[in-house]
C-alpha cells in the first residue's frame, strides 16, 4: 500500500475522527482489511472505489450500524462502540443506550433516503430532537423548520415522503441528520438513487455544508463533486486504501495502476 503524503496537519491539532486498522469480515470474507485515516474538523473526506470495495461498510462501521471486527474509531478522542479494558485489554462493547448516544454524533445519509414514510417532512426532521434529545414538540419543530429551510424545503414541510421527489426526499434526510447537530455527517452515495436531473440539488446542499464547515465523509461516484469539494480523497479497492491525497493530485496523477484503471473507467463514461 503506497500513499501520497496525507494533507499536512497543523501541529498540535487533534483530528476530529481517527480511524485505525478498521477490519470487518462477513462470514469468512474479509471486506475491510485494515483501514486507517484521520479527519480534521471542518474537512470533507471523499471515498471512491469500485463496487464491492467496502466503501459502504466503512461508513456503517464508523457509526456502528455494523460492528467492526477489529481496529479503533475515535471521535474527539472518545473510542466509539466500546473500549479495550482491563488486563489483556479485552474489548467491551458499550451498552445500547451509550451506543445510541455516540451514534447520534454521526449523521448518516443513506443511498435510499430511508425517510419515515408515516411522518411528514417536518416530523421526520423533528422526531430525533423531540424523542432523542428531549426537546419539547414546539422546540423540535422549530429546529426542524430551520433545517428544512436550510435545504430549501420550507414550502414542503407538511408533505409526506411519498409526495416528494427523490431529490427533495434526500434533502429532508440531510435536514434530519443536521437537526441532531452531529459532529460529522456520513453520506453513502447520496445521489445514486436519483434521476440525473435531481442530482445537482443534493450535491449543491452538500457543497454548501462543506463550505459552512461541516465535517463530512462522502462515498460517491460523482467525480466532479469529489474534485470540487473534497479536502482529502481516498481510493479504495478490495477492502484496502490503495491511494489517497488531495483530489487534484489523485485525479491528475494517480500513482497506482488500480487507481488509474478505475479513474479511466469512471471519467470516460
Amino acid at each position: 500500500m503506497t500513499s501520497i503524503a496525507p494533507t499536512p496537519v497543523p501541529r498540535g491539532l487533534k483530528p476530529l475522527l481517527a480511524v485505525r486498522d478498521l477490519r470487518k469480515s462477513f462470514g469468512n470474507r474479509e471486506i475491510l482489511k485494515g483501514i486507517s485515516f484521520d479527519l480534521m474538523a471542518g474537512q470533507t473526506l471523499v471515498l471512491i472505489g469500485p463496487s464491492g470495495s467496502g466503501k459502504t461498510t466503512v461508513l456503517r462501521c464508523l457509526n456502528h450500524l455494523e460492528t467492526p471486527d477489529g481496529g479503533t474509531i475515535e471521535l474527539l478522542g472518545e473510542p466509539i462502540g466500546g473500549a479495550y479494558m482491563g488486563e489483556g485489554a479485552k474489548w467491551r462493547a458499550l451498552p445500547e443506550a451509550d451506543m445510541a448516544r455516540q451514534r447520534r454524533k454521526f449523521g448518516f445519509v443513506f443511498q435510499r433516503f430511508n425517510l419515515f414514510p408515516h411522518l411528514t417532512a417536518l416530523e421526520n426532521v423533528a422526531i430525533g430532537p423531540a424523542k432523542v434529545l428531549g426537546l419539547s414538540r414546539k422546540e423540535a419543530e422549530a429546529r426542524a423548520a430551520v433545517q428544512l429551510t436550510r435545504v430549501s424545503l420550507a414550502d414542503h414541510m407538511d408533505k409526506r415522503p411519498s409526495q416528494l421527489s427523490g431529490g427533495q426526499q434526500q434533502r429532508v434526510a440531510i435536514a434530519r441528520a443536521l437537526a441532531m447537530e452531529p459532529r460529522l455527517i456520513l453520506f453513502d452515495e447520496p445521489t445514486s438513487a436519483l434521476d440525473p436531473e435531481l442530482v445537482h440539488e443534493v450535491l449543491d446542499v452538500m457543497a454548501e455544508l462543506a463550505r459552512e464547515g461541516m465535517t463530512m465523509v462522502v462515498v460517491t461516484h460523482e467525480m466532479s463533486f469529489a474534485r470540487r469539494v473534497a479536502d482529502h480523497l481516498i481510493f479504495m479497492a478490495d477492502g484496502e486504501i490503495v491511494e489517497e491525497g488531495l483530489p487534484e493530485a489523485v485525479f491528475s496523477a494517480p500513482r497506482e495502476e488500480k487507481t488509474q484503471r478505475f479513474l479511466a473507467h469512471v471519467l470516460n463514461r
Binding site: R104, G128, K131
Partner: protein
C-alpha cells in the same frame, strides 16, 4: 329429504340467545387475546433473551397443539390449581390464550417485515430499541397487520363453537339442545352455519371499514 319448517321457525329466536353468548365470549376473548398477543409480540421483538425464548416456546405450544386439548387443559387445570371460575371463564381464558399466541406471531412477523433501512435510519439519529419500536416500526405496522388480525378474530369467533364441549351455552350448544329435543340435525346445523356466516360477514365488513380509515402514506 323434507325440511321441517316448524322446527326452523321455532329455532330462529331460540338461537338468538346462544348468539348473544357467542358474541360475548368472542368480544371478551378477542380483547384479551389482542392485548395479550400485542404484549407477547412486543416482548419477542424487544424483550430480553430469556423472555423472548419463553414467548417463542408459548407460541410454539399454542400453534402445535389442538385447541380442543388446550380448552380441556384450562377447564380441568384451573380447578386443579384451586381456581373455580366456571365453564364460561375457563372457555374465555382458553380462547384468549390461544388467540394471543397467534396475534403475537402476526405482530412479530409484521413489525419484523418493516424494511431494515427504517431501523437503521432511526438508529442513526440515536434512537434506542424501544423508541424505534414505538415511533418508527409500530406506526408503520398497524395497517398491514389488519388483515391478519381480522383473520385471527374470525378464527376466534369460529372457535367459540368448541366451548360447547365444556357446556358453555353458546350458539352451537344452544343448537345442540334443540336437536336433542326435536331431532332435526340438518335443519339446525344448517341454521347454525348461517348464523356464524352472518356474524363473520359483519366482522369482515367492520374490519374493512377500520382498515380504510387507518392513515395511509
Amino acid at each position: 329429504m323434507s325440511i321441517d319448517w316448524s322446527v326452523v321457525q321455532m329455532a330462529i329466536p331460540l338461537l338468538a340467545e346462544g348468539t348473544v353468548m357467542t358474541l360475548k365470549i368472542a368480544a371478551i376473548a378477542g380483547i384479551l387475546g389482542l392485548a395479550g398477543g400485542v404484549a407477547l409480540g412486543l416482548i419477542s421483538l424487544g424483550g430480553l433473551a430469556p423472555a423472548r425464548w419463553m414467548v417463542r416456546a408459548y407460541v410454539d405450544f399454542i400453534r402445535g397443539t389442538p385447541l380442543l386439548i388446550q380448552i380441556f387443559i384450562v377447564f380441568f387445570g384451573l380447578p386443579a390449581m384451586g381456581l373455580r371460575l366456571g365453564e364460561f371463564w375457563a372457555g374465555v381464558i382458553a380462547l384468549s390464550l390461544n388467540c394471543a399466541g397467534y396475534v403475537a406471531e402476526v405482530v412479530r412477523g409484521t413489525v419484523g417485515a418493516v424494511e431494515k433501512g427504517q431501523t437503521e435510519a432511526a438508529k442513526s439519529i440515536g434512537m434506542t430499541h424501544g423508541k424505534i419500536l414505538v415511533y418508527v416500526l409500530l406506526p408503520q405496522s398497524i395497517r398491514p397487520m389488519m388483515p391478519a388480525l381480522t383473520n385471527d378474530v374470525i378464527t376466534l369467533l369460529k372457535n367459540t363453537s368448541l366451548l360447547s364441549v365444556i357446556s358453555v351455552y353458546e350458539l352451537t350448544r344452544s343448537g345442540q339442545a334443540i336437536i336433542a329435543s326435536h331431532f332435526a340435525p340438518v335443519e339446525i346445523f344448517t341454521l347454525l352455519a348461517i348464523y356464524y356466516y352472518a356474524i363473520i360477514s359483519v366482522l369482515s365488513w367492520i374490519s374493512r371499514v377500520i382498515e380504510r380509515r387507518l392513515p395511509a402514506w
